[in-house]
Amino acid sequence: MKEKSIMEEIAEANKAVTKGVDEKDIKHWATIYIMGKAYKVPADLTIMQAMEYAGYKFIRSCGCRAGFCGACSTVYRKKGEYKLRAAMACQTRVEDGMYLVQIPFTPAEKAIYDITKEEYDPSVLVKCYPEIMRCLACNTCTKSCPQDLQVMDYVQAAIRGDFAQVAELSFDCIQCGLCAMRCPAEIVQYHIAQLARRMYGRYGLPEEKNLEKRVEEIKEGKYNKEFERIMSLSSDELKNLYTEMQRKREVY
């Protein structure tokens, strides 16, 4: 009986997350304005959860719900503030007096290239995306990045053709598109960064040597005999072998 009650207790504790918030459990409220319309929502929710509470069923503007996919770009102003802020709806708690709208899509032109044929030459980025030369260094992209990346710095690095710097500064980009929507020079920063990272990953980083050798060994059938032996062992023999290997495991 005890185990069953543990599972029930766990399910009960998670009810708000799995089945939606119950009004009677809410202690704190906030008023938010979704596209200008006021909704009273629980103050402990993210913007995404609050919009659902308010009755919105997402088709667009909702993806991983954990800050990795860039689907839920949101811009908002707080009452009494001039500043236009940007956030991911799934990673931002609601605040009283938030006026918000979601940006479900960014129209953006992506350059077409064949990564195997491009030369590792600093001019590639400008060749594919000549508009980066229009950068005004206004820093609006950086200010609008919900990941807090130094977007303008990597655009400047792209102009210089510094693949390593672009790759390093842009690595955590979730391609939400907010920088491109705000850029007065109409640059699509995240596409440029994607090209730079692929160039750097393919040509800039030194190649791993063990890997090539292992791929060859497998191709030549080096492990076939050992696999045949292992796959013919009885289940007890396998268990003993496994236990022994776990005992000798590399911990860190």
Partner: protein, 554 residues
């Protein structure tokens, strides 16, 4: 009522417990609790793991796996009626006539498209369809890494044994062998496409262990591994101009008069119209089922992880396997409320973070396989009462993250875990200074549609790849083997589908006969038409709103 006062993100009573964690921290370095023996593992699983604890499951009443046990939430969908009525669908007008249809655009689907193209299928004869955007998937959320045995002291055979033991010796041997033998090749492929794996200055991969792996073989890209792999593959996909639909989930497969899979019915989430795809081969890469919230657990999964692929495949007669097991990741966020259930990568533990109870005591070896580790956390919280209860009534244990910097040097956490640091910082917590609260969360569909090493199912014309498939992980998957599964079997499915379509007939009939038969089976089994599937998206709207919702305009 005033809001709870927080000190650097935590209420005062939780701060008291953190003090105990800090007090024992230096003494815990290098002194880990021992690993459990196989018997100990079995005992703790039987008593505390949600898969083994009584209740929550039932036998499937109909279909190829009749009598097999699966979670109630999954059986509910297998025993549900279709969304569409076959007689209302006009199959005579084909909207897309292709060689290879791929349903799902995560790592598996995208890899399949690229390999089908590499193996001779022209881009205009490939179609990739997505329920949400291309890339909205569990793949993009994968943090920790991808396993591949490429170090001289490691081998694919050792990788095989690790995965087999982790899966409780239930994995399908030939499929598992394909996984581990293709692993180095897949990493090489990604490296050539420009994926930036973590490397030292000489180009050597920085490789870590995982729970249940005996060697360091995890290839990571900070804690954005899946995102980096996926965005590179998607960029390559877009460069090649492969046709792609978004917000077009498949709601039913189409079969020939002999029961081969010959395409799918897609349905626009935005306009409500359907499209008919005729395909010589169909690859299901629809991912898993976290959003079913099995046993009431929160989940790490993306919004669309609703078991669609398994439902569709089962209706055409595809066999499932290992439907009775679900993976709960030991370290889901338990606090603050806004991020409950979200993933804290296992890489934190492989980098030195220790699970610790409310008194600051280490109580379990930090790198047991996921199911064992999760069961130990549940025991600590609910049997030994050594968990920390949050203001919303959840219990959790501490993951002592500041240890990572102490062991590996200051700045390691910021450098290696930018996604984690960012997530907690957004909610007022600094994980480089304070521990974070965790509890097991629904993470992965271990079983699924049974596959062979080529990604083929028992139904002709139907291939599967990635989380929707079953067999390679047996009853429990190891860290770093899911992105690998998607990549290996996505590529294989694409490759073998390309081969298959060369000899496949192009004049197959399109029918929905299998749907009619399935409905008859449901009726004969006495199942009432109360539920429909696939569900496509979970329901999180406020109860008050739903209670008063009426549909007036269309």
């Amino acid at each position: 009522m005033a809001e709870l006062k927080l000190i650097d993100g935590y209420p005062e009573y939780m701060r008291e417990s953190i003090k105990l964690v800090e007090r024992t921290r230096s003494k815990r370095i290098g002194k880990l609790p021992p690993q459990m023996t196989p018997d100990e593992r079995e005992e703790i699983l039987n008593r505390y793991h949600p898969d083994y604890a009584p209740g929550g499951k039932r036998p499937i009443k109909i279909g190829p796996n009749k009598g097999d046990i699966a979670p109630n939430e999954v059986v509910d969908l297998l025993e549900a009626y279709p969304l569409i009525a076959p007689e209302e669908i006009d199959l005579s007008k084909v909207d897309y006539d292709v060689d290879v249809l791929i349903i799902g655009g995560g790592l598996a689907g995208t890899s399949a498209a690229l390999l089908a193209n590499d193996c001779g299928v022209p881009v205009e004869k490939i179609l990739l369809t997505n329920k949400l955007r291309h890339g909205d998937s569990n793949s993009i959320m994968a943090q920790g890494g991808t396993q591949a045995a490429d170090r001289p002291e490691d081998s694919p055979v050792i990788h095989y044994i690790d995965a087999l033991g982790g899966g409780h010796f239930t994995n399908k041997p030939d499929v598992l062998r394909a996984l581990v033998e293709d692993a180095p090749l897949v990493i090489k492929w990604l490296e050539k496409l420009g994926v930036m794996f973590d490397k030292d200055s000489e180009g050597n991969f920085i490789e870590l262990t995982g729970g249940g792996t005996s060697k360091r073989r995890m290839h990571a890209c900070r804690d954005y591994t899946g995102m980096e792999e996926l965005r590179v593959l998607r960029d390559e996909f877009r460069n090649r101009g492969i046709p792609c639909l978004e917000f077009y989930p498949a709601v039913e497969l189409i079969t020939s008069s002999e029961g081969k899979v010959t395409g799918a019915v897609l349905w626009s989430l935005e306009t409500g119209e359907y499209k008919i795809v005729k395909a010589k081969a169909t690859i299901l890469a629809t991912g898993g089922f976290g959003r079913l919230h099995i046993r009431g657990f929160p989940t790490t999964n993306h919004y669309g992880a609703t078991c669609d692929g398994v439902v569709l495949a089962y209706r055409v007669g595809a066999k499932l396997r290992d439907t009775d097991t679900v993976q709960y990741h030991p370290t889901g966020a338990a606090y603050p409320q806004q991020i409950i259930g979200l993933l804290l990568t296992e890489k934190l533990r492989t980098s030195g973070a220790q699970p610790v109870n409310k008194d600051g005591e280490a109580f379990v070896f930090p790198l047991e396989p996921r199911d064992v580790e999760a069961a130990a956390f549940i025991r600590e919280c609910y049997d030994r009462d050594k968990g920390i209860t949050t203001p919303t009534g959840m219990r959790g244990i501490w993951l002592d993250t500041p240890l990572i910097d102490i062991i590996n040097g200051k700045g390691t956490i910021e450098r290696s875990f930018p996604a984690m640091v960012r997530m907690f910082r957004r909610f007022g917590i600094d994980m480089t200074k304070d521990p974070v609260l965790v509890f097991p969360t629904l993470h992965y569909q271990n079983g699924g549609v049974e596959t062979d090493p080529q990604g083929k199912t028992n139904v002709e014309g139907l291939f599967v790849a990635g989380e929707v498939s079953g067999g390679v992980h047996g009853k429990n998957r190891l860290m770093g083997n899911s992105t690998l599964d998607c990549l290996v079997f996505g590529r294989r499915a694409g490759m073998y589908a390309a081969e298959y379509v060369k000899s496949a007939k192009s004049d197959e009939k399109l029918t929905l006969e299998h749907v009619k038969k399935y409905v008859n089976m449901l009726k004969e089994a006495g199942i009432k038409p109360e539920r429909k599937a696939p569900i496509l998206l979970p329901e999180y709207r406020g109860k008050e709103v739903l209670a008063r919702k009426i549909d007036i305009i269309y």
